[in-house]
Amino acid sequence: MGRRGTKNLSLSLVWFFLKTFLFNPLNNPVFVVIFIFIVFFSLERSLDKYHVALILYLAILGHYFIGNMFKDSVNAEEETSKVPIMRYFQALPISGRKIYFSYLLSTAIYVLAIYVVLGFLLMEFMKLPDLKNIQFIKSVTPDGDTITTLTGFGLTERGIPQFVSIGLKKSLLFDPISRIGGGYIWLSLCYILAFIYISVFQIFKQFNPKSRSYLAKLFHKLPLGIYLFLGLAFATELMFSQKEIGICTCFVLRHLDLMISLSLVTIVGTSLSIVLMSRSILSELKVID
């Protein structure tokens, strides 16, 4: 029963998070994404943009569950039982700061791995256009419309990651029912709502730990609602993709540039969500005031 001495605690925790939660298909729905990807490809020997969009949507949904990794209850009867799982980590012989950084590191490894895998699959199965001719364009079309150029991070035909530029008509970009602009606008709106949710709910929870009001429940369920809305919009679009049905059609990802943009939005949104969620965890662990 001799004391063996303290080992590398942070790495143990990183490994623990990765093994038990992040890379465990039983716990993490993101692995369903990979599974669906493979099934689609096996059945059809090709992937169209709808399938890719569905996969990315499921990836977003998966991140919602990751955000809930440390949360098991908001129905606190009293302050002392607010977050039992957090109590579990607080009781461990490791500082809150180390737990925080272990969580961040494991999540970063996970997110990177998922996008590398998805990126690899996309490169393998999709014929991406050559995006090597990168330039910043801002021009006016003969009909007087302005072309707005967006830059971002993408993959060339050979699979080399580089910045790409995407030209969009200004009128389409800001038109909520256009197929091109709608995708950007709705996705941005959804992420803004998600950020508002996280910020407001966390603040709300901090100041009202005992609250069981409808508002608290609403805030708790809001991100799931947002993600379900995205799914519904997407599913509707799939069902009626050959018809014009108004608002739902705007969500469809008919163009490769939108698909890449969705990836970018997903990465940025996920990163911000992780940071915000981490701050909440850090606060619980009393690392910050």
Binding site: M1, R4, T20, N27, R87, Y88, P93
Partner: protein, 243 residues
């Protein structure tokens, strides 16, 4: 003079609308086994959470293993075994995964003892903890906690969800740890008969104040009768408030 594992002087804890603990003072010596009893809301959990440093307090001094509970370092936490009233095992991990983590976190992790608990208590270790029964989760939590060979055990209602047979088995282990390894035990329970089995001392807390702190051997009657006396309950009411 004996070493004090727990030192509390003039502790007061206020929540927004109520005072949970009022000028509480108590000491627990090293190797001592102390039972904390009181009605729901009396302040037992708050006291244990303050000892673990989970929540802050308003007045007084609280030390555990010679360290202020407000700033317990990792080395001290390694010597503390804590089981909360709510089962807080990570629902998405198996007990084997959790044991693997503890092996790296706790220098005194006893693999043999853990295996013994798994076998004797018939704990399912290879399933995620969310998918095993409440009683099994409680046993798993106790097995992990005890296998760390803590210097002091802080247990908040550790027998919730356990059947009578398992309760006796766990009590035996606690008694063994106390007598063989000198583990200090400070635990709360509503099962008054269990207090008599392993505790040297009983503390009765009522509305945030200690109304009795006495060695079991010095009590004029059983813990149950003493509890009745301080809470003004009938025997039937006391029995109902227990299990």
């Amino acid at each position: 003079m004996s070493i004090m594992d727990i030192e509390i002087q003039g502790l007061t804890k206020k929540y927004i609308t109520l005072t949970a603990l009022r000028n509480v003072s108590l000491n627990v010596a090293s190797g001592e086994s102390v039972g904390l009893v009181g009605a729901n809301g009396a302040g037992k959990t708050t006291l244990l959470y303050i000892l673990m440093g989970f929540i802050s307090y308003d007045e007084g001094m609280v030390k555990i293993l010679g360290t202020s509970s407000a700033n317990i370092d990792a080395a001290t936490k390694e010597k503390i075994g804590f089981v909360a009233e709510e089962i807080s095992l990570l629902p998405w991990a198996t007990l084997l995964d959790i044991a693997g983590l503890y092996k790296n976190l706790y220098g005194q992790w006893d693999k043999d003892m853990f295996s013994r608990f798994l076998e004797e208590w018939e704990i399912v270790a290879d399933k995620r903890t969310r998918s095993i029964s409440k009683g099994q989760r409680r046993l798993a939590e106790l097995a992990v906690c005890l296998s760390c060979h803590p210097t002091i055990l802080l247990l908040d209602e550790p027998f919730i969800g356990l059947d009578a047979v398992m309760r006796i088995k766990v009590l035996e282990v606690m008694k063994e740890m106390n007598s063989q390894y000198g583990t200090t035990i400070f635990y709360s329970s509503h099962i008054l008969s269990d207090i008599e089995k392993i505790a040297h001392r009983v503390i009765i807390i009522r509305q945030g104040e200690i109304c009795l702190d006495e060695r079991i051997s010095n009590l004029e009657s059983s813990v149950e009768k003493t509890f009745v006396k301080y809470y003004g309950l009938s025997r039937e009411e006391t029995a109902l408030s227990g299990e």
